[in-house]
Symmetry: C3
């Protein structure tokens, strides 16, 4: 794709300063700019790069005032990140797949595939499945019995969806993620052995959810594990049985949520966080990476850190002292010496 600077400025509803006819063929980073590239300056930390970049066009904020001469053509926009997103969407390439249904897909006759959906090679679709309009099912995907997939969904290669799960509209599920495998439930029986508790529930993923690669969302023992509207899950996340993740909550990679925990809406959860089972987390909770959350959080917008997690600022304060622990212990020893000396003096005075 090639496009002129002026055409881009029109698309971005921006104001061009420089060469309106300059040709742009790909987005690039400001520090790795090359002719034909379009890049952006949003964080003033990177301002130095704009004077030297070899990129042909740079998007800048309306209030940007250059200190020196800029060689590149500039496009002034009101929100650089929003414009960047629009721009990247323009240049985005995708994995191709068969229009319609690939001849190698194995689809049960009772499955309902919308005429506008695409099913790629070696997909397996079991009885009673329904796939909505414009949804794209990439190669090697497995969809179990009676799963419902909404409209405009993209399911990437190797995703496995167990029976009876529900995927809403506009969802994206990345490669090799597993949805609806059995929750981890075993009842102790004789002599230290365990019996499996059948997991008869399902997983419900509401609209506008994105799930990363190699993530696992277990089915409920009874009822549903629920990922609410607008949630974003990163890679390698573990969601236990009967968990509820509230709408628009964002969870970074490698975090794990144990069974029956309910996470509120609009939470921001770092990577490698662990949640105990059967707790409730208030809306808007922010949790630092690697924290271990072992109690319910009742107040909205609490910030947490530590394992077990405590209030964020308190953890940081305590950790400063932890780092200075040898000095603190030395202070205590010095005090002991001083006190012993005073005692001697005092005893002598008696």
């Amino acid at each position: 794709m090639q496009i002129t600077g002026q055409q881009l400025a029109d698309i971005l509803e921006g104001r061009l300063v420089g060469d309106p006819d300059v040709l742009v063929s790909e987005p690039c980073k400001i520090e790795d700019g090359k002719p034909g590239g379009i890049t952006f300056l949003a964080n003033t930390k990177y301002e130095a790069y704009i004077y030297d970049t070899k990129a042909s066009v740079v998007m800048v904020s309306e209030d940007f005032v250059p200190d020196k001469k800029v060689k590149a053509t500039l496009i002034y926009v009101s929100n650089v990140y929003a414009s960047l997103s629009t721009l990247l969407g323009k240049f985005n390439t995708k994995i191709s797949l068969h229009e319609g249904i690939a001849s190698t897909a194995v689809i049960d006759v009772t499955a309902k595939i919308d005429a506008g959906a695409s099913i790629d090679d070696y997909v397996i679709i079991k009885p009673g499945v329904s796939i909505g309009k414009n949804s794209k099912i990439y190669g090697h995907v497995f969809i179990g019995d009676h799963v419902t997939v909404g409209e405009n969904v993209r399911i990437f290669p190797g995703v496995r969806i167990y029976h009876n799960c529900v995927i809403g509209n506009n969802c994206v599920i990345h490669a090799n993620t597993v949805i609806g495998s059995d929750g981890f439930g075993f009842a102790p029986v004789n002599e230290g052995q365990y019996d499996k508790i059948p997991q008869t529930g399902n997983v419900v993923i509401e609209d506008d959810v994105e799930v990363g690669s190699n993530t696992v969302i277990d089915r409920a023992t009874l009822g549903s594990t629920i990922i609410c509207k607008g949630v974003k899950l990163d890679n390698l996340i573990q969601i236990g049985h009967n968990v509820v993740v509230g709408s628009n909550t964002v969870i970074a990679a490698q975090t794990g949520v144990a069974g029956s925990t309910r996470i509120g809406s609009n939470c921001l959860i770092g990577g490698q966080v662990g949640f105990k089972g059967h707790i409730d987390i208030a809306d808007g909770t922010m949790i630092q990476a690697q924290s271990g959350v072992s109690n319910s959080i009742r107040h909205k917008e609490t910030k947490l850190y530590g394992s077990p997690a405590i209030e964020f600022q308190n953890y940081l304060k305590s950790y400063v002292y932890f780092k200075n622990f040898p000095d603190i212990v030395q202070q205590i020893r010095n005090l002991e010496l001083e006190v012993n000396r005073l005692k001697l003096v005092s005893d002598n005075m008696k």
Copy 2:
């Protein structure tokens, strides 16, 4: 499936109080009960729900005495959790698969597939493999050369088993788990580079083991990585080369065990725990989530917490002081002031 309350009571060997002819069609949670639902009350924390639930039938413990009138039909049983497990098994649905061998499965002529086994679409089975009676191999599974799979095993979509591994009877392996990939062994050579140490061993999974989704169990460098009888592994777990996990040990999600570590029998290991390599963990050890175990544990039934892990109660005690560290430091400062004042007084007295 529809069944009457009395039929259920007979199956569960329980005593029915209420309407023996009430029809039940699905299990449900007590707080989300609906007509036709059967639910249970095991934890008295949930007792309030039993008086309002819309479920048609509730299983309760023999010693349950209602405070108020209960509308639902009750089935009194001796062990609510055991009865629940029986009940869920009755209502459990499964992913369907081909009876016998799907025509799209690619099976080497030297593989021995028991006549009672089922092999679904797009399974690949390499030379010398053997699959036992009643085992079910779901779609997209890959089984490498000379792998042995026992009887009554279920291997879910996308599982990869490398060559020479052994899977016992009655095992369940969930989707996209990898068994027998190379252990992480590299020998430093010149200039900071590494040479791969070939991994010539295998993985042996004994009978009655369940493994979650997206878990990895690496093959041994020499000999076998061994998952003993009755072990339960959750999702996204890492088991390094030459590890041994003792019988009936339960490990929660995202835990990692480094190479050559031996974990005893009947251990209970939380999520996101890390084990150093080449250590021995005694039988019955209980380890809190997110702990880091860096030394062998010699005493049975030790409880651990922390990174590095120490005795559970000791960690909690120390952590209480950690949380109060700013106050403790303030106490020390106050003491210093006091001691300085006393010194002045004392010096003045000399």
Copy 3:
């Protein structure tokens, strides 16, 4: 494979003491030795085993002097571990795959597959892909549009490579790993919702890289996520968008690196470590398992531990005091009592 002790000694350029005609058929561990087995003694901790092992041959270091009579035939070598590696390579078995291209592989007509490459069953290869000489693509692998795979590469079952990614020569990628899925980038919009930032970059994996199973390496938003020459990544690792991992760095299982972080060369990184985004880690940094690295590390060969990570020895020192925190608090209380007593004496004296 069967081979005599003398033939092995010749291969290993070692000196045989014992029976040159003894037959060896498999490598084994010294403590589990059996007739026909060859094993090794490298760590003197295991020396006791050499006098009793049933293995037929033991490789030992040139400076090994037995305390007692050894029944096994010995091969003296200059570097036991290097010889072990050679030996294991000799006995290593592999997963078999189709010579050339399996008839069930779905390969776009525009893909260029070298005549010496092997493509196994049910592989999907999209338009514009190129696969180099002697590369082996195992069953169920998915390779997206315009991916380049070098020479002598092995890609194990179920690996997913998204469009435009580049894999160098001599790389090994283990089962179910995902390369090039979307970076985790979302821009907040109205009412707590998020818009996806298109991820238009790719992943570049340089030569001689090994990647474990179920690992995820996300594509860059712009530009490339780069895994440099000679890097070794274990299983279940998360590499965020625009990360750079420097040459010959080794990362253990379940570690996560957030977006845009740059890790230097020759680093040694333990398991379950977390890296914050947008930081720089100096060459040769060594990081203890489970650490959380939240700041750039400027000095080479720094050793780190803790969450947030601090200098390794300092963490250990502070942790010793943490473990003794109850005693330390008791010391402070004792001091307070003593000071109060002194104050009383002092006040009485006034």
